[in-house]
Assembly symmetry: C2
Homo-oligomer: 392 residues x 2
């Protein structure tokens, strides 16, 4: 029997009410996995992200970066005719995704409790700043609010220096990825039960789930973890070092690697120094160790050290710009920076799908982000054909 090479979510239809980032990112991930995603946008304006620069022609590159592979229809959910269309879409959908403030969908008459009565198989997925429950539920939030309240920013940056926001919007992106996982898990459960579910993900909760050992460490010791610059909280040396020309990172994940590192930088005495003989000692004496390694690296440029340390089996890398990353052969081999099928977007590319599967060919481009309301006629015809068919 030939392998079924369809994408894993092939056949799944997603109605996407999302704006800006968390929900649109979630549905972008679902689209990468083969789902059909239909954006329902406000007439006239559309998704707020359509206004965010930079622009290529009239198209927001911000919008393009998370809305490839989607269709668009503009609907006013307060207008009766558009409500009928929206309900037609819910009729054919497997999933509806939204990131309004909790309560907005209820006021429109499309809260989970109403929707489940009419469409019991629907998976209803909501991502919000604080979630659908709890005292802060109705508060507005944005990426940096989740990064700040969760403690994520308290872990990031240099001690005693001004705070640092993680340079990508991980407040939204992590929540969006958890939402996508919740959606697929609920779809899996539906194959067992026949009924849909309500998936409720909060940006704050998602950041907390990403604090790693910091929560466990604080609750056990009562000591708040501090920012570490580039240092790892538990492993040493595992951080950035300045070479002759620029910065690199070195990750000595265990004692063997540390010994190889000492050899490669021609400082074999460090490997037998009692201050550095195991990870715990190195962590305690890290200021001294950092000074020794920095002095040893100073005479040569990063290219020299990446080669030398690589030969010695020491994990290391230059701290690259985004541009340097896009030029890596490895990124090309993995189709991780791919063009958009839209000549009007010029050279603009978007990230590929990091979930590679043996049964699915990796896509080497993505479809153009939709113009506002671009797919109205086709979607209305599709709904009309379905109604006509069901009358006979």
């Amino acid at each position: 029997m030939p392998t079924d090479r369809s994408a894993p979510l092939s056949g799944i239809k997603v109605i996407d009410l999302g704006r800006v980032l968390a929900a649109p990112f979630a549905t972008s991930v679902l689209a990468s996995l083969g789902a059909r995603v239909i954006k329902v946008e406000r007439p006239g304006v559309g998704d707020d992200a359509r206004q965010f620069g930079p622009f290529q022609g009239k198209t927001s590159l911000y919008f393009a970066s998370v809305n490839c592979d989607k269709e668009s229809i503009a609907l006013d959910l307060a207008a009766p005719a558009d409500r009928a269309t929206f309900e037609g879409l819910l009729e054919i959908a497997d999933v509806v995704v939204e990131n309004f403030s909790p309560g907005v969908m209820d006021r429109l008459g499309y809260g989970w409790e109403s929707v489940r009565q009419r469409w019991p198989r629907l998976v209803y997925a909501a991502v919000s700043g604080f979630g659908q429950t709890g005292p802060l539920s109705s508060k507005p939030s944005y990426d940096i609010i989740a990064q700040a309240l969760s403690g994520m920013m308290s872990l990031t940056g240099h001690p005693g220096q001004p705070p640092v926001r993680v340079g990508a919007s991980i407040g939204d992106l992590v929540a969006g990825l958890y939402l996508a996982l919740g959606v697929v898990s609920a779809i899996h459960k539906r194959t067992r039960t026949g009924t849909g579910d309500f998936v409720d993900v909060a940006m704050l909760d998602s950041q907390v789930a990403f604090l790693e050992v910091a929560v466990t460490k604080f609750t056990a010791t009562g000591i708040d973890p501090a920012p570490q610059g580039t240092r790892h909280p538990s492993i040493a040396p595992f951080q950035a070092f300045q070479c002759g020309d620029r910065w690199m990172v070195i990750a000595a994940g265990n004692d063997d690697i540390f010994r190889r590192l000492c050899g490669a930088i021609a400082q074999p005495q460090l490997a037998v120094d009692p201050r550095f003989h195991d990870n715990a000692c190195r962590h305690t004496h890290l200021d001294e160790l950092e000074a020794e390694i920095t002095a040893a690296l100073a005479p040569h440029d990063v290219g020299h050290w990446v080669t030398r340390l690589g030969e010695a089996g020491v994990p290391c890398a230059p701290i690259q710009t985004v541009g340097e990353m896009t030029r890596m052969d490895q990124i090309a081999a993995r189709a991780m920076v791919v063009p958009i099928d839209d000549p009007s977007l010029g050279a603009a590319k978007v990230p590929g799908n990091p979930i590679k599967m043996a049964s699915v060919d990796a896509r080497t481009s993505r479809s153009a982000p939709p113009q506002l309301d671009e797919h109205r006629a086709r979607l209305l015809a599709e709904l009309a054909a379905r109604v006509t068919a069901s009358q006979y």
Copy 2:
């Protein structure tokens, strides 16, 4: 009909060969969704993370933070008797997860091509630094390598200052979360096709997928995005500000919020200043705007401003420590910092599951992380019973 309140992955069995973080985090997420996770560890030593401090008694809190809700058996995959046991586990498993360097499982005779012949329904999920393909495939990697090569570190920190590592290991965690999503997607596809799949996720790829608009912006303009401190790349003002006592963040996501902000800090003239009249202008003149807002905030402490701005509907928050986060009523209401069912771990808690579902009660604790080989006898008995049963 009563609702089926089982967790979505109830009945799914996962064999976890993972060490340290990326794969163990993925299986921790799968366990939160109801999967049964069986860790297969090296005899004597176990998962390397068991050696990472801090410790509570003899238990690594680092290990505890990503290994609750799992079973453990110690197996030497080079020894015939243990190989038979491992194959018995594969016989009952739905999923196997590993984060060895590519090639290690092949050398053990358990690469995907061999395993799929004997167990065609198995979903085989591998997370590695660079993925199973491409010129860097066999290179070792660690969190900070993925953060450095992807460009993530180039976006994080203050311009002209030393680099900053994101304070949580997002190189591992994002890859682990994508792997979990790939696993559940492959399980969903299996209900359609009857066959398993190979899921291949790279830490580098996963970081690239999280660069958001940075890839699109660079490829369109050829200009490498620089670190922004706490500033958002597209929205202004959306960043940290120093108040009288400490730092807070303010997120003026649109023009309305900006006008309300100006009123709340008693600087209404800023709202009508042509330098600041829309997001694009504010972005261009951000240094001046930042100075104005900082001067206005200086006379009062963060508590004053969070109240005042909150009343005006301006999203804002103090930059909290991890400890402050754990004391939030919202975190308690959402069960996002939960105890471990193990008195020997004292006060240590772990993050809860951020995927809340209407059909599943949120867990308010997690099971103790397993001792090395703790579940050997039970697992062997389970496999023996299965063999005996199949003889009749």
